[in-house]
Symmetry: C2
Subunit: 199 residues, 2 copies
């Protein structure tokens, strides 16, 4: 059965990004290296088993993760990732502003969804078929899915830094019970896979 | 060399206790079982390697961890733990109110320190000799030691529950870099040992 999964890099004090995110600093005023250095290590540091999930049929992301701007679209903006984004699948972007689908190279097409997370999830399910759906971020979007009980698996990549401020994973997410399925300590990060227990 | 260490049970969203701590609910309005159930498992779940640190020469704790009351001492209050507390070593209690040392059974003596964490640490060092010193809690006291750069090793016992509110580990602790030394996944908890990197 299709699972809704999410990979997130989180500081020891629970932040996924700093304050003041912008074009110049997409992660905001956080120590970005502390948060992401592990992603650029050797393949064994980011194997399919312990690193990012592979075989995803569709992605969902927040507007903030796709674009540094708010409001009406600047149609010249085609995402942070160049002409061949690393998704290679449909990506459903949550936004208040309609926009035509944006096909990129390598199989990635950005679709813009203006009627909320349940609609985005329905469209992602349709696109993904039997494969899993990943919530790509950012923290606000992940928290919305968690609060709505729509996430099945959370893969936390915990970096050993305390940054002191920013956007928190789990902010505003009510009581929730998970189960830790497995943990692996890599050189720069602790990978733990959690299953969200639905009542 | 003597290390200053700390074991703490923390929820997935970073809380060590709920709000409204009292005599009736020393952990406040948090799901206490979620936080502490792992402590009452079989010995292999709480081995010396992965569970609580052993061989401690002295402990330091906050007033709040010793007593549910504030202000002047009720001298009938002898701690939460009965006549034979589980410390079996000197315990230095941070407080604004002086009180005579309180010897208990089994080697535990509570000493009351009114002149701050550095004084408590100096007294604990004197008492511990070559052995390590443990910060017993609660979160506020641990955060004070972290912020002052006085903690060497943090052993986080992470339970897979999101509780949504309470007293946070790392609250008000500025930027800090740690190193994850090892991690082990037990049935109910993920044990990770961190070394605090001092500049």
């Amino acid at each position: 059965m299709t699972q809704v999964v999410c990979d997130c890099a989180v500081t020891l004090d629970g932040f996924m990004a700093g304050h003041n995110q912008s074009l110049e600093q997409p992660f905001g005023d956080i120590d970005r290296d502390a948060l992401t250095a592990w992603m650029f290590r050797t393949p064994e540091e980011r194997s399919a088993e312990d690193g990012m999930r592979t075989g995803i049929g569709a992605y969902i992301m927040g507007r903030n993760m796709f674009s540094p701007d708010r409001g009406e679209w600047d149609l010249d903006w085609r995402g942070w990732w160049g002409e061949d984004p690393p998704y290679h699948a449909p990506v459903f972007v949550l936004t208040h502003y309609a926009r035509e689908p944006l096909p990129m190279e390598g199989g990635t097409t950005f679709h813009f969804v203006t009627d909320g997370i349940e609609s985005a999830l329905a469209q992602a399910r349709e696109a993904a078929g039997d494969r899993d759906i990943a919530i790509a971020g950012g923290a606000t979007t992940i928290n919305e899915f968690l609060a709505a009980g729509l996430l099945d698996e959370l893969r936390i990549h915990r970096v050993p830094a305390v940054t002191g401020g920013g956007v928190r994973l789990f902010e505003g997410v009510g009581p929730l019970t998970l189960e830790a399925v497995s943990t692996r300590q890599a050189e720069l990060v602790t990978h733990t896979i959690y299953r969200v227990l639905h009542d």
